[in-house]
Symmetry: C2
């Protein structure tokens, strides 16, 4: 099933998709060359927004949840891609320790962990799940709503290795984004593969660094296939010294918002877009859709009320927000039935392995669809994103999904560059990473 595009704006996106289709050969060649120079992350997911005139990633997650939302038909693709990832990163591994988030009450998240573990087991790994939760003091079997079970076990540290009782893994896969910093138990593990590397965690990662890398990747790609990079690249700005509680830094924020809105208005004019521009203010280190605000005028960020300030001041794990990114808002003009829809694309190694739509019936086209407590309806893609069909129109499902896959891989490539460029000196990487908090 493919969402309907609002007809008024299908024109330009069809043009973009047509360009992707016509250049599929060069695009794949370009990616192949890029992946020779850059090591793909083990896995990732990206939220795309599709405005009809612009198709752009707005988030790239290096610790993807939501594998449970993918179409089971494409599980073999996941397994094959996971095999490639294992071969690339830790070919000798036979035992893998998976460390998830601490959300033991979130059924959807737990189903994601169970699905991820099953994919990894099918690559021939002995996979067990270690919990950072202090209350998991013995193996704990969780019965999931979908009938699966999940066994969480307490982590055991032994010298510079981590494992479980009677389980000494060669590799540790994090599905925990380290928002709260690197737990003591994960520091100094210099004998095991840590995937992704610790510095990819949200205690260190900055959305603005990713946006800067994406900007470069998108420009290079756009030049290679001859499109305006703006069509795939959201503009952004940064404010690095902000304190919402103490109301400092508002001027910087207002100035950045204003400057960004001015740039967007000029682009809208160039493309004849009549929508109202907006920007999204986000905590630079935040995740889970926390600390996010939609703004249509600079005046909106001056004199925030207490509720607004509280909402922006603190993100996941109680982290204080001092840096924000201001990102060009991309309207989502995709709808499924009566809901607004946002595609989320999943990748393992450098392969697109599936995706789903985040569908929300009570949110607008210019709102964030990944908000705390939001109950989105996942709708699995039913084509794989790797099978464009030149014989069909550019908006036919395989071709639309191909376009999604191209832009998603650009975001993944940007993440590779980001991880390379933010890698700490070797000594520090081996465990000296300081807590960000």
């Amino acid at each position: 099933m493919v969402p309907h595009l609002t007809t008024a704006l299908t024109g330009p996106l069809l043009e973009l998709e047509r360009q992707f289709l016509d250049n599929a050969c060069d695009i794949e060649k370009w990616f192949r060359t890029q992946w020779q120079d850059h090591m793909p992350p083990f896995y990732g997911s990206t939220d795309l927004r599709n405005s009809g005139f612009k198709l752009a990633p707005v988030d790239l997650n290096l610790f993807p949840g939501g594998f449970n939302n993918l179409n089971d038909v494409f599980m073999p693709l996941c397994v094959q891609a996971a095999q490639a990832a294992i071969e690339r990163i830790c070919p000798d591994a036979s035992k893998l320790l998976l460390i998830p988030e601490n959300h033991t009450r979130n059924q959807f998240y737990l189903q994601n962990v169970a699905k991820l573990a099953s994919i990894l087991r099918l690559t021939g790994l002995d996979v067990r799940i270690g919990s950072l939760l202090p209350e998991i003091a013995a193996p704990t079997v969780l019965e999931l709503a979908n009938g699966a079970t999940l066994t969480l076990e307490p982590l055991r540290r032994s010298g510079s290795r981590i494992g479980l009782d009677d389980f000494d893994p060669c590799a540790v896969l994090l599905n925990n984004d380290l928002s709260a910093g690197i737990p003591q138990v994960l520091k100094g593990l210099d004998e095991q593969w840590l995937i992704p590397p610790l510095h990819a965690g949200w205690h260190k990662r900055r959305k603005s660094k990713h946006a800067e890398c994406y900007d470069r990747v998108a420009r290079e790609f756009a030049a290679a296939i001859g499109i305006d990079p703006w069509r795939i690249n959201p503009e952004f700005g940064v404010c690095g010294q902000i304190n919402f509680q103490e109301r400092t830094g508002e001027e910087c924020l207002a100035a950045q918002v204003d400057s960004l809105l001015t740039r967007i208005r000029a682009k809208y004019k160039e493309y004849g877009v009549t929508d109202e521009p907006f920007v999204v203010v986000k905590a630079d280190a935040g995740t889970y859709g926390m600390g996010v605000m939609t703004v249509k005028d600079a005046s909106e960020v001056v004199g925030l009320n207490r509720r607004q300030r509280n909402k922006m001041a603190v993100v996941k794990e109680g982290l204080q927000v001092h840096e924000v990114i201001i990102q060009e808002g991309v309207h989502t003009f995709e709808t499924v039935e009566d809901g607004v829809a946002e595609p989320v694309v999943y990748m393992m190694d450098h392969y697109v392995v599936g995706g789903f739509y985040r569908v929300h019936t009570e949110r607008g086209r210019d709102e964030n669809l990944n908000a705390p407590g939001m109950h989105f309806k996942p709708l699995a893609f039913d084509t794989s994103g790797t099978m464009p069909d030149a014989a069909q129109g550019p908006d036919a499902p395989p071709n639309r999904f191909y376009a999604y896959g191209v832009v998603a891989r650009l975001a993944l490539l940007a993440a590779s560059v980001e991880i390379e460029e933010t890698a700490p000196a070797e000594e520090e990487d081996a465990g000296g990473d300081a807590l960000a908090a």
Copy 2:
């Protein structure tokens, strides 16, 4: 759809499949290690025979046809695996020349070529098809029965490179098994990637060398997971000096047949199998099911009549048969509806990408299902072979197909070893390969 196993013999195979399932982790780890030491062929297909007590490959094709018979649902798997193959062998390639067999009247084969070209195009290669046929003097568009079209173009040699008019490819993929020897136009191409290497062609290749490599691979694998290698490994013998027309070498053949049947009888006794043993005599360099004879007693190969001798004496492209392999026959106890069925598994790089059943309603369980003029019914697998499900029984479709995938990959690994060990010295490889005929 999964074929029914004749109930009387499901017991032991279930046991074998159960062992594969229980050891899936070690099996995948074992393969991962092997593929670190051996370069997988670009592609391959293997014919399996499943007797209920034995599951074994009887043929490994390094120039697979039949991609048109695969389930379209698994095309993304093919594309992903083909991407991996391209990255491994010729990452810089952007243009690929595909050279097919000369069967321009075989609609099924042409559909295979069209499907293969479409898979390769989806990896981002500019693919064109060059024909060895002298009558293709200009680009020739063939309309296929399934609605696809295929353009065959005349090959153009320029110095030590081969291409088409206005098409200078980086890589050349052979879907032509070189039974007639290496055409002059393919000799001395030392500036382009030739895939597979020329010495993998049937002008040089010997089934007995493959069987010898498979024997070693199967023994190592069986030792690693603790099974009797005979359960996956057909016994074989060779006669190297035979001339069916002149009736020389019959004694060697009869002796080998007798010795093999004696060994099989002993094994049948050990496993309590009450079927009648048989062996298959095949041209050591033959293909397309030509030059094949089923034998249940040594006396059958002595004093062959003219028809039998003619059948065995000459194979594809008029090649004379002087060497034969005598291979343990494996009854096929799989049936689909009322036909006898033989699974054919397809691989690209080291990944299983699909398969189909060769179903024949007019042949017996101990007959060759791949014979000239044979009209088999292809029945695409509807599970991928990479998704065993431990929660289901060992004969559930995903688990049966997993077992197929394991044995097929063993045959592919044997082909890797075979290609390594038969590689000519560098100078010769660069074009000095002599015509075998």
